[in-house]
């Protein structure tokens, strides 16, 4: 019997460090439902990196992939310093030296360990970096604190001045910003745009039906995150900036019938996979925020090819489109756009993932606002 067709992976999130120099209050790795980081090696070894890259190449070639993407992630991926980064990049380059598959390699970092030496290497190797930041210091330091509880903004601003100026600007991808609905979205948007980033994304916190997001504890129909995003969207289009905001650009694309730019929106099959520092393979590492072991598939790069991983029910569940969603989502007029929301946001102990996103009302609020704004602007175009 022929093997069932699979959706090959495109994006490989490499957890190259399992520890972090920050201790952000909302971190899904350290401060939510999962403590398995304690038994992970601190850093991805050469052996794991070699085997991961080899498995990747095998999978890319089997599916004639013209391109693939690696994201260095953590913990804090720069915690191993320049030497660790160079070794991993060297291994990838060796394994893919004569491959037909073209790679992009990026990194998501807290930015605090970025140095000119690291920047010089990233420029040479063609590795880019996105930085996590929640807004101006008074916002960022609420949650993005070190292990002594001290804010990180002073040091981050110093590193950002380096990263966002020449000659390192070419390796700067932009910002990820977790939303705090009690803050001023206009001030946060303006502050982030002040660095002229190529891109920003605003993230909904990793909460769910059992641990409701701040501001929605008593009323899931309330939409404080939607309201925040609406104001940020209005500010974004008001500024005339060239910076892309991924959640907004994704919704605009989805409204026009195109694909989403991010896994947390839309109904496209997910082709993303995560490799931990010890070589274990996961489908959605942020499921760690839900309960202990929620992200485990039972596979690792030494014993299992990515083709096998792609056939795992936990992976395929994210490729079933609308059929995998809760009944309420299937009947919702915006389901093609929000896609039921991000998987960890749907969880409850009672019903598993058979729920709408805990941010359903927020997503509806934002999607409707963007659609109405486009409609209004189109109506104002002279015939």
């Amino acid at each position: 019997m022929p093997a069932e067709p699979i959706v090959p992976f495109h994006t490989y999130l490499w957890k190259i460090a399992s520890r972090c120099n920050l201790n952000c209050t909302y971190c899904y790795v350290y401060n939510r439902g999962d403590s398995r980081w304690r038994r992970q090696p601190k850093f991805m070894t050469d052996e794991v990196a070699y085997q991961t890259a080899t498995r990747m190449r095998e999978h890319c070639e089997a599916h004639e992939k013209e391109s693939a993407s690696i994201i260095f992630h953590g913990g804090e991926p720069l915690l191993g310093g320049l030497d660790h980064l160079m070794r991993l990049a060297g291994i990838i380059a060796e394994v893919f030296a004569d491959s037909e598959t073209k790679l992009t390699v990026g990194m998501q970092s807290n930015g605090l360990l970025f140095t000119p030496e690291i920047g010089d290497f990233m420029r040479r190797a063609g590795i880019s970096v996105g930085v996590s930041i929640d807004g101006p210091p008074e916002v960022n330091d609420r949650n993005r604190v070190d292990h002594a509880g001290r804010g990180s903004s002073n040091e981050l601003e110093r590193r950002l001045r380096l990263l966002t100026e020449e000659p390192y600007r070419e390796v700067f991808d932009g910002f990820l910003c977790v939303i705090d609905p009690t803050t001023d979205p206009v001030r946060t948007t303006d502050y982030l745009l002040g660095f002229d980033p190529p891109g920003i994304d605003f993230l909904l916190p990793l909460d769910n039906h059992d641990r409701r997001p701040p501001g929605k504890e008593d009323d899931l129909d309330a939409a404080p995150y939607g309201d925040w995003l609406v104001r940020a969207f209005d500010r974004w289009i008001e500024t005339g900036t060239q910076t892309r905001v991924r959640i907004f650009n994704s919704i605009i694309g989805l409204l026009c019938g195109r694909a989403s730019l991010v896994e947390s929106l839309g109904l496209e099959a997910i082709d993303l996979v995560v490799v931990e520092t010890n070589g274990e393979i996961e489908a959605v590492d942020s499921l760690k925020a839900v309960f202990e072991g929620a992200s485990e598939l039972g596979y690792n790069v030494f014993d299992h090819p990515f083709d096998l991983v792609a056939r795992h029910a936990g992976v395929k569940a994210r490729q079933l489109g609308v059929d995998s969603l809760a009944q309420a989502c299937r009947e919702c007029p915006v389901v093609d756009l929000c896609g039921g929301g991000y998987l960890p946001h749907r969880y409850s102990a009672e019903r598993g993932f058979d729920n709408p996103s805990v941010y359903s009302s927020d997503l509806k609020r934002l999607i409707t606002h963007i659609a109405e704004t486009i409609q209004r602007e189109l109506a104002a175009v002279p015939a």
Binding site: G90, I374, V381
Partner: protein
């Protein structure tokens, strides 16, 4: 009210928009965002990837602007002092 607005979304079909429709849009951010979507063949994301790829929520790696990873530097790295030899992969068990 909210459900009426959501239902009204069904009436608003933007999937048939063309570049011609948005040419006169006054807002440059919206116009640029729509141009990128509607002018798909020139979109670096689309031309760079041979699949519709899902991007990690937990990274902001912009593949539309990112340069390709430079494979040629592997040899130069190989001569760096202190670089340990790469262990061969373990035999496949499955």
């Amino acid at each position: 009210m909210a459900s009426e607005r959501v239902n009204a979304l069904n009436e608003l079909d933007l999937t048939k928009l063309t570049l011609e429709d948005i040419r006169g849009l006054k807002n440059p951010v919206l116009r640029e965002a729509l141009e990128r979507v509607l002018g798909d063949p020139g979109d670096a994301v689309a031309s760079h990837q041979n699949t519709t790829s899902s991007h990690s929520r937990h990274s902001n790696h912009n593949t539309s602007s990112a340069q390709l990873f430079e494979l040629e530097f592997a040899e130069r790295l190989g001569s760096l002092p202190g670089r340990a030899p790469i262990d061969p992969p373990r035999p496949q068990m499955d």
